[in-house]
């Protein structure tokens, strides 16, 4: 792998300031995307995947705001804070302006494919005119060539009769065809990075398979990097090179895809993999993760996964684990945020197992789960405080 990543995200924090309190949707995540690779961002609904990906374009909608961290793309600062002489945090002086973000980054450097192909296209304009508009905005093509480029791109993503389909409206396209149009939009702008935000979630499985094959093929042809946001471990296995598993605004495990599947280090990733429906098991044999993910407005103390973790011990309630490198594979680190792997200075081995109902052998009422997360004290991240 080349030394310098295409995109580097460091300690990114995005928060939503609501009436009910501050929602820490993305709470200090770090990851890299290298040229030509597909990086997965995996997690349950509400883990902060979409907010994280929109933060990369600086398109977080109010009342949300990026409050910390650094995003570097091709050596340019998309977001960065530094401490000024007055001790206050200021935007980095090299940080791209809103106008630069719009004209230089959005679309022509980093493009997106959204989740819902039904809603993402404007119902009152033809598919062709929408595609052409994005091409005209993001590429320097001579007059009139954008139309031809749009038609070629529709053909490229497998839309039959592109000349005729160019003049048609979104409602005349099926869900899968619309998703192909969105892919065409992204590729037509010739970006170096495409953020695919659950692009196959709204599609049925056969179409999902076609779309994944299409992206795989086009990705190799154009050598574009992808950030693939999904909750589906099956999709991850099929398409990603490296994976970041997110839980409640944090990355809990980060590894090349094979390493993640065959040498899982974090209990949450384990649980995610176990909860996948498989053809050799019936619904009764499904092994879902117990409970629901807590709100990001008041995350549990210590390790955020401890109320649902089958391996949780007393120490997990107190110690916020750091995302540490636990192994190396294919030249990339395998990081996991779990104190199980802290050989030194962790109380994990000595502390008693938590009775949170997450293990299969014990059945606790829901109230017991609540109290387990409620009574614990809040500690600072990663610090060993005894």
């Amino acid at each position: 792998m080349s030394a310098e990543p295409l995109l580097r995200v460091e300690d990114l924090k995005t928060q939503f300031f609501t009436d009910a309190g501050t929602v820490r949707a993305v709470d200090g995540i770090s990851f890299e995307v290298y040229e030509g690779e597909i990086v997965g961002l995996v997690g349950e609904s509400g883990a902060g995947k979409s907010v994280a990906s929109m933060s990369l374009l600086r398109l977080v909608e109010s009342p949300g705001e990026i409050v910390g961290g650094e995003i570097t793309y091709k050596g340019e600062t998309i977001f960065g804070l530094e401490e000024g002489p007055d001790g206050e945090l200021h935007e980095h002086e090299n940080m791209l302006s809103n106008e630069e973000m719009r004209t230089r980054i959005r679309g022509n450097e980093i493009a997106v494919i959204f989740q819902d192909p039904m809603e993402s296209l404007n119902p009152v304009f033809t598919v062709g005119s929408q595609l052409r508009e994005f091409i005209e905005l993001n590429r320097d093509l001579p007059n009139g060539e954008a139309r031809q480029e749009a038609i070629d791109m529709l053909r490229e993503v497998g839309i039959p009769d592109p000349e005729e389909r160019y003049e048609e409206y979104p409602h005349q396209f099926s869900g899968g065809m619309r998703q192909r149009v969105l892919i065409a939009m992204a590729l037509a702008c010739e970006p170096s990075l495409i953020i695919a935000d659950e692009p196959t979630t709204a599609l049925d499985v056969t179409v999902e398979g076609q779309i994944i094959d299409l992206v795989d093929e086009l990705q190799q042809k154009y050598d574009t990097s992808f950030i693939w946001v999904t909750h589906d471990m099956g999709v991850v296995a099929e398409i990603c090179d490296r994976v970041n598993v997110m839980y409640l605004g944090e990355i809990v495990e980060q590894a090349p895809v094979d390493e993640l599947f065959y040498d899982t280090k974090h209990p949450y990733t384990d649980a995610l993999l176990d909860s996948m429906p498989r053809p050799d098991r019936t619904v009764e044999e499904l092994d879902p993760i117990t409970g629901v993910m807590p709100e990001a407005i008041s995350p549990p103390s210590g390790c955020r996964f401890h109320p649902r973790c089958p391996d949780a011990r007393e120490a997990c309630k107190r110690i916020h684990p750091e995302n540490r490198e636990v192994a190396r594979a294919e030249g990339h680190p395998h990081r996991a945020a779990c104190i199980k792997h802290d050989v030194f200075g962790s109380d994990y081995e000595e502390s008693a197992p938590l009775e949170n109902g997450a293990r299969g052998d014990q059945q606790l009422p829901a109230s017991a789960v609540d109290s387990a997360s409620g009574e614990s004290e809040r500690t600072d991240g990663g610090e060993h405080n005894e």
Binding site: L59, T103, N108, S120, N122, F134, Y169
Partner: protein, 332 residues
């Protein structure tokens, strides 16, 4: 189905509605208290024989359903009957008065649309800011204040106190300048606008307030659409998003409101014509009611009803034309 066939289809669909309007109007007009012949005589003492002769002459002695059939037979031929009171054909009376009313209603709508759309957009983009709150209050006042009262207030302020604008009458742009003794078409146009300004605002305020709120709601919804997010993600300037991407989608309900509110506007015109002393169909309608001029009341009611139905049809057709998702009733 093509646009033409769709139009024809909608017109045929409207026929039962129009027949319904005539039946209800006919029955209501005849159930109203008061005897038209006696009213015509204005309290003079005449022989019973004379009354019976007049009733026979106008067919008032025959049973209701027979009279209705006769009326419909004439209506189909474009004859709306004869006004007993004025001794003139109803059709002729109405054609004379239709111009001022149409001028008033169309300009009120023009005023309402020209102000409501920009104000609605501004309110939507400055959501929950002072501008938005002011527009909400203005809209609330506009919706809840009767148009005739607004008319009277406008006259008091701009005609009587300030003396800037005339308080009554209209100048018709279709007449020659010589008719009013004006120097030329420029003065005619100027005077037309001057006379039209107050009644136009009085009648258009309600429409403006309604449309402004609808425009705001639609723009807010449209601006939150995924397609707007996508446009932003591809670097489309915010101006273009507002004017093109969000705007186009938001205009569809506006067309519906305009079409459906046509009846409200025509109803409002009746009072506004009265307040501003305009010789339009609305005032003719009021006079007809006061004098129990059955034929005239029915004629005007039917024409207003027909105009409403036509308004709905035009709305549907323009919808089908503007929104690509609306088909002309066929399935593919």
């Amino acid at each position: 189905m093509g646009l033409l066939r769709y139009t024809a289809f909608r017109v045929i669909q409207a026929i039962p509605v129009l027949i319904g309007i005539t039946v209800i109007t006919f029955i209501l007009a005849n159930l109203a208290p008061g005897d038209p012949v006696r009213l015509m005589l204005q309290g003079q003492e005449v022989d019973q024989e004379v009354i019976e002769r007049v009733e026979r002459q106008y067919g008032l002695d025959r049973p209701l359903h027979e009279r209705y059939v006769t009326y419909m037979a004439n209506l189909v031929q474009g004859d709306l009957g004869h006004s007993i009171h004025r001794d003139r054909p109803v059709t002729e009376l109405m054609i004379q008065r239709a111009g001022p009313t149409l001028l008033l209603v169309i300009s009120a709508y023009a005023f309402a649309l020209a102000t409501a759309i920009p104000l609605g957009i501004i309110a939507a983009t400055r959501r929950n800011e002072p501008t938005d709150h002011v527009s909400r209050i203005v809209a609330l006042i506009g919706v809840s204040t009767p148009s005739f009262w607004i008319g009277i207030m406008l006259i008091l302020i701009f005609a009587i106190q300030l003396g800037w604008l005339p308080s009554s009458g209209l100048v018709y742009p279709w007449r020659s300048p010589d008719h009013y003794g004006y120097s030329g078409y420029l003065e005619l146009a100027f005077q037309t606008i001057r006379h039209l300004l107050l009644p136009m605002v009085a009648l258009g305020t309600l429409q403006m307030a309604t449309l402004m709120r609808v425009e705001r709601t639609q723009m807010i919804e449209s601006l939150q659409g995924e397609y707007v997010k996508l446009a932003r993600a591809y670097g489309v300037p915010e101006r273009t998003i507002l004017r093109k991407h969000a705007f186009q989608v938001a205009q569809l309900p506006i067309i519906t409101i305009v079409g459906l509110n046509l009846s409200t506007a025509l109803g409002g015109a009746v009072l506004i014509e009265y307040v501003f002393n305009i010789n339009g169909m609305g005032r003719l309608f009021l006079e007809a009611i006061q004098s129990l001029d059955y034929q005239l009341i029915m004629g005007i009611t039917i024409v207003i009803g027909a105009m409403f139905v036509i308004g709905v049809i035009i709305t549907d057709i323009s919808y089908a034309y503007i929104d690509p998702r609306v088909t002309y009733g066929d399935r593919d």
